[in-house]
């Protein structure tokens, strides 16, 4: 496959960078939000996932708005109007030979897409708007918060400092925070970023909404941190042929969170067909393991133990029939065919961590994952969040794991419920307790040992033990070999769950009745 080519369309005096991917029978133009960089998108798992999904059913046309990414810079003292920027969409469509296209506008891209749809109805096949709005100050941020945001952008641009404003759910993901910092640097200069923010603050397209005639789908995450979901509730009332799908989630960028859910909705809307479930997904149990230092080991010793644990982790995962699925920050993720194996591996890892002298915390979850590549989907993210939630030494699992692991010998105690942004309902949790090879401990304790379970010979042996006789003496009295007596004693201790001969003697004394022990 040849690399994705970046080309440039001319819009007035400005060159607009664009890419075309996919072989679908209709065109889909993606109008990005605040900032973008065509090259960098493919380096983020979520972004490239979104683009691959969309380009699987369309000919997807991507571009960087003027002033951002690979497109020409603009004079920050003479910012282009929304109309000028909208005309860049037309220029890119002309360059790609697209006479009519569906438009996907995300965030700040939504007002641009709406303006295009109202201006060029004959060129708009359909409109999909994600996390969009018609008026910046009303639904994104009031003027006073905008000033603070611009100050952050101007003073700390390029460090990823704006991430909490967009995707607070990803601030603990070091890989993503590094990507976000590059995304800032490669998408706009600090001055341009501040200028773009000011320019976007002027957006108000409320007046043109009734003029949009294309079928329109609105998608908004219910707890979107950047754009108030009321923004889309307003749009659905004003755009004639529109409907709104509210989905769970908090992170705002369209390529974060449950990307597949967004792609499913767009695909169904544009093709009229529900996305075919991918055959490459399989049911699997995932285990996320993290270790941490509770003993203030010092860097060197911690480093050594950390390394040793990683080696042990690979070994134990393999030994339990699992596969290493890579590390995500401090989390080690492995996958198994069934939850029983994952749980047994988790228990072995907990013991290994104790032996090595580090603390462990683990999460186990079960769900569909991609057959190929790392489990970065929803099941993977939930598993990793479970590990993050788990306390020292805990194996925290979803209730589903416990339900599926019935008969595995592992037992569970209820651990309440926890809400995750991406899930509709709070997730019921359990803690996996140590493996019980016999009856669960609580049952064994509750049920008093029955003397009747002893054989006649064993009862005789218990009586003689109670008399304080040695194995040799008992052997002589019962005309048995000493070895046989030893076997009887061992069986008696096992059956009665007693630790010693003395305990057996005491038991005999307690249970002596008319019929003997």
């Amino acid at each position: 496959m040849r690399p994705i080519e970046t080309r440039y369309a001319r819009s007035g005096d400005v060159r607009i960078a664009y890419q075309v991917v996919g072989q679908g029978s209709f065109d889909l133009v993606f109008v990005p939000g605040f900032i973008s960089n065509l090259d960098l998108h493919w380096e983020d798992e979520g972004y490239s996932r979104l683009l691959k999904r969309l380009s699987a059913f369309s000919r997807l046309i991507l571009f960087d708005k003027r002033g951002t990414g690979l497109s020409d810079r603009v004079d920050t003292n003479h910012l282009p109007s929304l109309e000028t920027r909208m005309d860049d969409v037309r220029a890119v469509m002309d360059a790609t030979g697209s006479g009519r296209a569906a438009l996907l506008g995300a965030s700040e891209g939504a007002p641009m897409a709406m303006l295009f749809a109202a201006t060029y109805p004959e060129r708009t096949r359909a409109l999909a708007l994600y996390g969009g709005y018609a008026n910046f100050h009303r639904w994104v941020m009031p003027p006073e918060r905008l000033d603070a945001f611009i100050e952050t952008a101007e003073t700390a641009w390029g460090t990823g400092a704006t991430l909490p404003n967009f995707a607070p759910g990803r601030v603990d993901d070091p890989h993503f925070t590094r990507w976000w910092a590059r995304f800032e640097r490669l998408s706009a200069s600090p001055t341009a970023a501040a200028a773009l923010a000011r320019m976007n603050a002027g957006i108000d397209v409320r007046g043109i909404l009734p003029a949009i005639s294309a079928p329109t789908l609105l998608i908004h995450r219910r707890n979107d941190v950047r754009v108030d979901p009321d923004a889309s509730r307003f749009l659905v009332k004003k755009i004639p042929n529109s409907r709104l799908m509210e989905i769970p989630g908090r992170d705002h960028p369209i390529w974060t969170g449950d990307v597949d859910r967004v792609a499913d909705l767009i695909e169904e809307f544009l093709t009229g067909e529900r996305a075919v479930a991918e055959a490459e997904r399989v049911l699997a149990a995932l285990l996320a393991t993290r270790i941490f230092d509770t003993a203030r080991l010092g860097d060197r010793m911690w480093g050594e133990r950390n390394l040793r644990f990683h080696e042990t982790w690979r070994l134990l995962v393999g030994r339990h029939g699992g596969r290493s699925a890579g590390t995500h920050g401090e989390l080690m993720v492995s996958r198994f065919d069934g939850p029983g194996r994952a749980l047994r591996c988790a228990a072995a890892l907990r013991n290994a961590a104790q032996e090595i002298g580090v603390a462990s915390a683990q999460g186990v979850h079960v769900g569909e994952i991609e057959l190929r590549g790392p489990p970065v989907g929803l099941t993977g993210r939930v598993t990793m969040q479970l590990a993050a939630h788990a306390g020292r030494g805990d194996i925290l699992a979803s209730r589903l794991v416990a339900d599926l692991a019935i008969g595995s010998g592992v037992h569970f105690v209820d651990a309440g419920r926890v809400s995750f942004d991406e899930l509709d309902e709070p997730l019921a949790l359990v803690l996996a307790m140590s493996e019980q090879h016999l009856e669960p401990a609580c049952h064994a304790k509750a049920k008093p040992a029955e003397p009747a379970t002893l054989t006649t010979r064993e009862s005789e042996v218990v009586s003689l033990i109670a008399d304080g006789k040695s194995n040799a003496a008992i052997a002589a009295e019962l005309s048995l070999s000493e070895h046989t007596v030893k076997r009887h004693v061992a069986n008696i201790l096992l059956k009665l769950d007693l630790p010693s001969r003395a305990a057996a003697a005491a038991f005999s004394a307690r249970h002596t009745g008319p019929d003997g022990p």
Binding site: V20, Q23, D27, A95, G97, R100
Partner: protein, 120 residues
Amino acid sequence: MLTKTQAVDGAAIKKAIEGRDGKMLASFYADDAMVRVIDRNNPPSKPREIRGRAAISTFWDDICSRAMTHKVDTTIADGDNLAFTQACVYPDGTKVFCAAMLELKDGRIARQTVVQAWDE
């Protein structure tokens, strides 16, 4: 409809495709026609199926809205079966090549299978 009386043959299809006349193309199909598309994203075991004239009409409208050139060659007719190849070029030079097999019923296209490959 006047277009309904247009006979469906190799020459008519060539004229409509090369002229990017989506409406004319849609009129060639029976109401319950089916077009199957096999390409990279729609493999033979799961081809894309476009059923009914309305959906087929949208399909051709989408294709014909693209400012690209189509050239239909090698049309073969055999009773109620028709076959042709089609070479297409996008403005950026990207080429697409298609081979299509058609079954006619009562003078309309009842079933069509398109196999296509794109520059990539």
